[in-house]
Assembly symmetry: D2
Homo-oligomer: 430 residues x 4
């Protein structure tokens, strides 16, 4: 690598667009990474409780995926294949069928819509509209589904929505689970507008939902809420799309985040950790009866990213061939939440958000989360904030994190919370 002497102007400052973001909170230059750790150019070590926003569920450079990847790249096999057949793609399909779909009793057609989360969401929305002949879409408050125009239309964040520069149309927003802090019966609004032909909310093609709102403040939908949503969709002949881009691939404790609720969505969006390695890959899954696409009606240059098929296959075989990984994961989840309980108990105005390893701590004082995240970075822990007001710290370590690293990271969080939201504050005020 070329060295950049410290007296040279920083090319990130001079050349990269102002849209860059994470590098502002975390101004280090990250040179190496392994498992739950990263090191910057100066050799400083960081624990990573961010995990590529969910794209690195198996940690950085997991040998289980990196070995097959390098081997593949050295073999002369096909790297880029659009939607042509390759053995790597075949093996991925076979493995996904054998290890993921079949054991869960799921029969989904698999579409490769392009390699990113927003690609799979756009494909899902298009298919739902095509199948139903309806144009309207329902999404939830504080939802995040992506930055391209269709996905942005069903996203909640106002800053990101304004970035569209045009009105975002053809969808209505409905309240997510507990949006009214339990004050209102679940789905009161949704049920009424669907039953009332005068509601002015047009019958939607589909409802798109995240089981945990990764970007929208780590709210987690309860299993019974998801079941009621699924029932409501069935009752009204509306498709249910689960955007499992961030919450899927084991993040909440099971491969799909909706398994706990026992529901079977009509369409599922996967991306981020489906490649197992951080390489771009996305899938759109749907009931075979919905597979009404014309050949090539949706396409994309990078929908056949074979290195990602290879690492995806390796990850599935390594982690999902039996229950071992999932059991260990359950322990990690339990350990995390035990610590979070303790932290919250001693903190002022704090509450736990999220589910599994897609967890958060929310603070009534809107400034605490950013302070804790800054403190964490100073102390060698990468921790993102989430929510419309950045009022939540997002705790998303690799699923493969060992106990020591987990506890070390949580120690830093605990110290940060103690510093910026001490329970004493409450006492002092009383």
């Amino acid at each position: 690598m070329t060295e950049t002497p410290s007296d040279k102007p920083d090319i990130f400052e001079t050349r990269e667009s102002a849209v860059r973001s994470y590098c502002r909170s975390w101004p280090a230059t990250f040179a190496r990474s392994q498992g739950a750790k990263q090191w910057d150019e100066d050799g400083n070590e960081y624990l990573d409780f961010f995990s590529g926003a969910g794209a690195l569920n198996y940690g950085h450079n997991n040998p289980a995926v990196m070995g097959p990847l390098v081997e593949y790249l050295q073999s002369g096999a096909v790297l880029h294949s659009m939607d042509m057949k390759t053995p790597a793609k075949r093996e991925f399909l076979q493995t996904f069928q054998d290890l993921i779909l079949k054991p869960r009793g799921l029969d989904y057609s698999v579409m490769f819509p392009g390699p990113t989360g927003t690609n799979t969401v756009e494909a899902a929305l298009k298919l739902a509209r095509k199948v139903t002949g309806r144009q309207h879409m329902l999404s939830f408050t504080n939802a995040f589904h992506g930055m391209t125009l269709g996905s942005l239309s069903v996203t909640g964040n106002s800053m990101k929505r304004e970035g569209a520069g045009i009105p975002l149309t053809n969808s209505s927003k409905i309240p997510y689970d507990d949006y009214f802090d339990g004050e209102v019966p679940d789905f009161l609004w949704l049920e009424r507008v669907l039953e009332d032909s005068g509601s002015g909310v047009d019958k939607p093609a589909a409802v798109i939902v995240e089981t945990v709102q990764g970007e929208g403040g780590l709210r987690a939908a309860r299993a019974e809420w998801l079941r009621a949503l699924s029932d409501l969709c069935k009752k009204h002949d509306i498709l249910l799309i689960v955007d499992d881009v961030q919450a899927g691939c084991g993040r909440t404790g099971s491969f799909f985040s909706f398994e706990e609720a026992g529901i079977e969505p009509d369409i599922v969006c996967l991306s981020k950790s489906i490649s197992g390695s951080g390489l771009p890959l996305a899938l759109t899954l749907f009931r075979p009866e919905l597979d009404v696409w014309e050949p090539g009606e949706h396409n994309g240059t990078f929908r056949g990213n074979n290195p990602a098929f290879v690492t995806a296959t390796a990850a599935l075989k390594t982690f999902w061939a039996d229950n071992e990984f999932q059991n260990e994961l359950a322990d990690t989840i339990a350990a995390l939440h035990q610590r979070l309980d303790g932290i919250v108990e001693k903190a002022e105005g704090a509450s736990i958000r999220g589910r599994g390893l897609l967890a958060g701590l929310c603070f009534e004082d809107l400034e605490v989360a950013e302070k804790v995240a800054a403190y964490a970075f100073e102390n060698g822990l990468l921790l993102e904030t989430s929510g419309a007001d950045d009022e939540v710290i997002k705790i998303m370590p690799p699923l493969t994190i060992d106990s020591r690293d987990l506890q070390a990271g949580l120690d830093i969080i605990e110290a940060g919370v103690a510093k910026f939201a001490p329970a004493a504050a409450k006492a002092a005020l009383a």
Copy 2:
């Protein structure tokens, strides 16, 4: 790799969505690839005049990029980094600045909008609207810009447009160069609607254009037409976006396809071959004065795909550090077009389309192109069709193809054309 005995049901048939497309025309399973060649599982060899729809400009598995890639992956460096700083990203930015921007006198901010072509187009459209405060957009007949909702709105193909399932709004279509076969002065329509405040075509934020319409039938805009378009945009204070996703990265003979015309677009979209390897990567370039993004206003999980930065850097250093590659490329282009001239001369109703190595043969008989493409596949040549009626064969070999492979591929094309569009037909009719 797991073997799939021939008596087992084909998992591509049983599991992959009906949307799959190329695998229908080319039913082989491609196992290995190198340079301009691919081999299927049965060892059959194919010359590749398709080049991953422009994502493989330097051929398959080019050692110049694969070496650094494997080395990087083995080094423990960071694979996935969102928009954090990494040495690999820094080196890419530095190299892109030093080898591409500076020598061409271009000063563009660089945005990583997510790794695919449609990501960069969506970012370009958003930025143009944000900068100008205008909502309307102009695009050209037979344009192709991508499959997500914003990009699809500025795309021409009706089958793909209908896939949206909702009206595609906020843009108007204007005639591409030679849309009326020279019958009409250039930009007559555009000039009139811009000057006429009663035209009903709202003043646009930007015009988005491909210098060669890769998907829309290989029409190439003349340099003077592009200059006139650029002048018109400047005159009316409209941004000019060049979508160089397919035509860029050397495909037409220079790094950017607009260099020949001597224009300087306000915004440039790059993807496909910018990674040099077939790995997903995309850039949005724009004049620094246009860089009005809020941090994080547009984001995406895979905008920091470090393996792609590594191969991109390697490709730039290998091919664009001096003029050698570009000179060889000029020879290849000349050789190709010399042969095409000869083929057309002997064919019925055929004409040459495109520019550089983004070339095509268009046939008046709308069925010829598909027949020639099928014939080519049977004879070991991968050749795509293009255009609204698949009336054009698209000739897009790697830029690095050697003379023997080039001529071999062209021999097959010549034979196919001779078979399905013999000049004799003309004579016979006369």
Copy 3:
């Protein structure tokens, strides 16, 4: 008038579009009308509790308006004047200012947006968007604002919405007063989405509301709900539009329907009875600070309908120069509601809807209202149904109805209700 012998085909059947509607429920041909009565060609008499859907608040052919109208038409004065000045228009403006605005402490600019309800609503929506620079609009469940595209977008009825043939965009629906039968605190949803920058409901230019939903089932908003809505709008810098097309001009007991609540909307839409005669006329009123229109930016051929100015002026002078009419109206309202109380008491699953002389009876059994309306017609009373399921009978006699006619009409309603929703049904079931 030309006679149509009964053996000739009915030209309404053979020539008028299938869109015709009231003539299906009331197949009579109405030849004469006076006050609260109409007579068909065969001399049958009908009491009119429909009042031209609110356009005939002062009854049919009220001498107080018809006299000046005929005199005006015979005088050689200007009938049609676009937005030129005429004495008739001046006198209307002066009278409206002196008798309506000033006594109520209101200072509104007066716009003539074209002569119908949907014209004034479209003008209001355009102005609100222009003033605020925001594009989104909020309207209520079961709202009715008109049939042109802008008004239809903020209307609730699904049958009418589907008539648009395109998606209705740029507005969200929010729950009207008591939409959840008291189960939910007022404005919980609206407050949350306005305060939550992640709600995905874009900040609106305005909220448009009817104080009583004339077409949407006669729901009446409580005064405190209207006040809270007004406060919420002020707090969030959102314009409040009251569509008083049906509920205004005395229908609820005061000239404007929002007077009881003591609020002052930013924009008010008037039409229907503003002309006092049934002639087409509409006004859009707004705070002078909002009057940012360019001359001619909104126009219309019939915005200067002088005969309507004349009857409007006459109606204002006759009925609104002092409190006498309003006091009599209060008595009529009291008499109506006293009878309705009695009717409901003896009926099965019935409840009173509406306010003032914009009242309704809602029945749990969705078929009752239509049966009662049909019964009423057979017995010489014109009575419309309302609501998404036609579940409400709409009781809207002229404001000028005398006690005898009022009681006579209510006798028919009482008999109809007793026939189709007898309380005995309850007893029988018990």
Copy 4:
């Protein structure tokens, strides 16, 4: 009438919205009117070559319509009837059928869509979309169809379009006849985009056209152009809507403006002079096969304006029962155009626009038309300008104007043109 002393503030200034427009060019207060003349309060006389923008084709207060109107209003007949049956409506339908439709061999269903031009256009657009299931619409450069959102979407004027405050979607603009001054074959663009499935212009439900663009600069489509448009629509199964709101009712010499071309539109919009008196009335006519409306799917309070039915019937019987009126009209048209020829001959950069009594004089010097119009007003002639730049004076006397008044008005025009665009200017420059 109440007197307004000259020292009182003008209530039009203090109370009427800034959107008022004609009263700015013509600051008189018009008190009386008869035939082709109006008088202001001070007794000044004006010749009216404006005719209520086409709503007063039979002149002001034509006794042939005013007599029956007053008689009707004095008779106790029904004034306002929604879409109920009345004898007045029946007689109008019968008369329209007998005198207009039958003699022309036209079989149209008649819809009363609300009483204004924009109501009938909105109804036409809705019906075309409903019938075809297509959402896109085509309209022409410089078209004017109305100010409500649907009509505005197909209107050209940018100032009026911006008044919408939101993007106007779901339509594309195509060049009107002679938009390129004969440089381009007719319909080149339209034919190409319809035939090219890659054009990006979605197949429309309908094309909406004015045969003469009354607001857009008085361009008149040639008969052969209209025939070619009609053929093209038929060929591509696209509905043809003629907006005859301004050009219809005799204005161009025949009842419908499209009669000269011999075409039969699928849908026809009428308003303005259809009432014969300046009272608001509008019709939407369409082939009976297109009458797929649900009852009440489109409605409106003032669609049953009986006084307008009465005057409409009287006008039809007076002017269209035989050919006499049309023959006289032909003479008037001839006389007008003879004079216009002479005026243009002696003027600098002037050309004749329009057809029949919907004529204009267009000036190369964009300031001339406004100067001539101002001069005309000063000399007692009401003359409007038209066109995106107000570059045309619009000459639209009543169809019933006598020779003396016509010549007198033309004398003023001639003098104004001589003053502001003298041919001498040309000579002087030469």
